[in-house]
Symmetry: C2
Subunit: 199 residues, 2 copies
DNA sequence: GGAATTATATACCGATCGGTACAAAAAATC
DNA sequence: GATTTTTTGTACCGATCGGTATATAATTCC
């Protein structure tokens, strides 16, 4: 009952995600948002609560769609393939033609005022969570004898995430996908490729 | 002649640098600046022009002091040592006890509103310049047979800068220096260490 | 066709943004 | 000591910030 909504919530959220991704949380004004989403401020507040709530919902959407490759990669049977898929997945997301460059989880609020401290904390925790999950996957790999010798699983996880965060900055600075791929190839050089009889 | 200035310009600039480093260009308000520097707005505008001018002067100071290791590292005779010193130099600067975490050149304006577009462009160009200089140093190394085989000098430079930008995000997310050092060790693993008779 | 409910549009809120006008204060010059 | 020059403190500027009060429009329930 009541007057029906005149806009598509999912579509509006997609636009908000793109704006926050490109301009960051504080760099995106309510005017940017309402004009981009094609709705008025009362509509925005009615559906999403406030700016912070909208950002968090946009981040959730980002994780569910653009970062879906991550959890998929964790299911690969060989650790080296896990690492490769994660690195390429990040590079792809950071350089997709129709999307902003770089990573929303970094662009969102890397350095900001006190007003955005809660968002910043949330994004940091987000990064930690991903790194922790990858670390646990590599722990399993270690138990299976599936890691290059001489490395702690969680150090390897931090290494992979550091490369991905580095390529996020590179992408935000204009680097194209092929350049990032070459970086990734170098970063994985110490990690033995799978020989055919391994699989 | 005229009334003497009541504050130390260099000291004030140091404070502005720290603020911009920690909160970014747009995240730092004029109130933050004047309160932190202990001066009034007319004094700030009299000496530094405006907020943008102040940021650029603070960035200049940052490059001259905190990034001094970079050009020093380029003068090392062996490319592997150049890479090592640059990576450790960045990690040190990103995790210094008394300074903000991460890198001012990235924290300053990674994603921002249109109002900061000029600053953002300037910081991107800054990153490109460093990468270009390192690439040229590695070109020299290639001519001297001082590179690991199978790598383009400028790809190697991008690789080193990507790692450093990755550790900048890690530092901004709370990683300590030792953790970054372990990442750097892994990143350099494919690059042959110098044996004693090489030097 | 009301009554109730929800979404819309307009117009507004106090606070803060970067930046400045103006006059008093503190020094050097004559 | 008067004049000139520069810095300082105060008080203010228009614009924009995130957020909301209010009334009207559009639907369902009865």
């Amino acid at each position: 009952m009541g007057r029906p909504r005149e806009f598509d919530v999912d579509e509006a959220l997609e636009t908000a995600m793109e704006l926050f991704w490109r301009k960051g949380y504080e760099g995106t004004s309510l005017t940017d948002l309402t004009e981009g989403m094609g709705i008025t401020k009362p509509s925005l507040y009615g559906v999403f609560g406030n700016k912070e709530g909208l950002f968090l919902k946009a981040l959730e959407r980002y994780e569910r769609t653009k970062m879906a490759f991550f959890h998929k990669a964790l299911e690969e049977p060989r650790a080296r393939i896990v690492a490769e898929k994660i690195l390429h997945g990040f590079a792809d997301a950071q350089t997709a033609d129709k999307d902003p460059s770089g990573c929303m989880g970094i662009n969102g609020a890397l350095a900001c005022s006190e007003a955005a401290a809660e968002i910043q904390k949330c994004l940091i925790e987000n990064r930690h969570r991903g790194e922790r999950e990858l670390g646990r996957r590599f722990e399993r790999a270690a138990a299976e004898g599936d890691l290059p010798p001489g490395h702690e699983p969680h150090d390897l996880a931090r290494y992979i995430m550091t490369i991905s965060q580095g390529t996020a900055i590179q992408a935000a600075s204009g680097a194209d996908r092929q350049a990032l791929y070459r970086v990734i190839d170098m970063a994985l050089q110490f990690w033995p490729e799978l020989s055919p009889q391994d699989s």
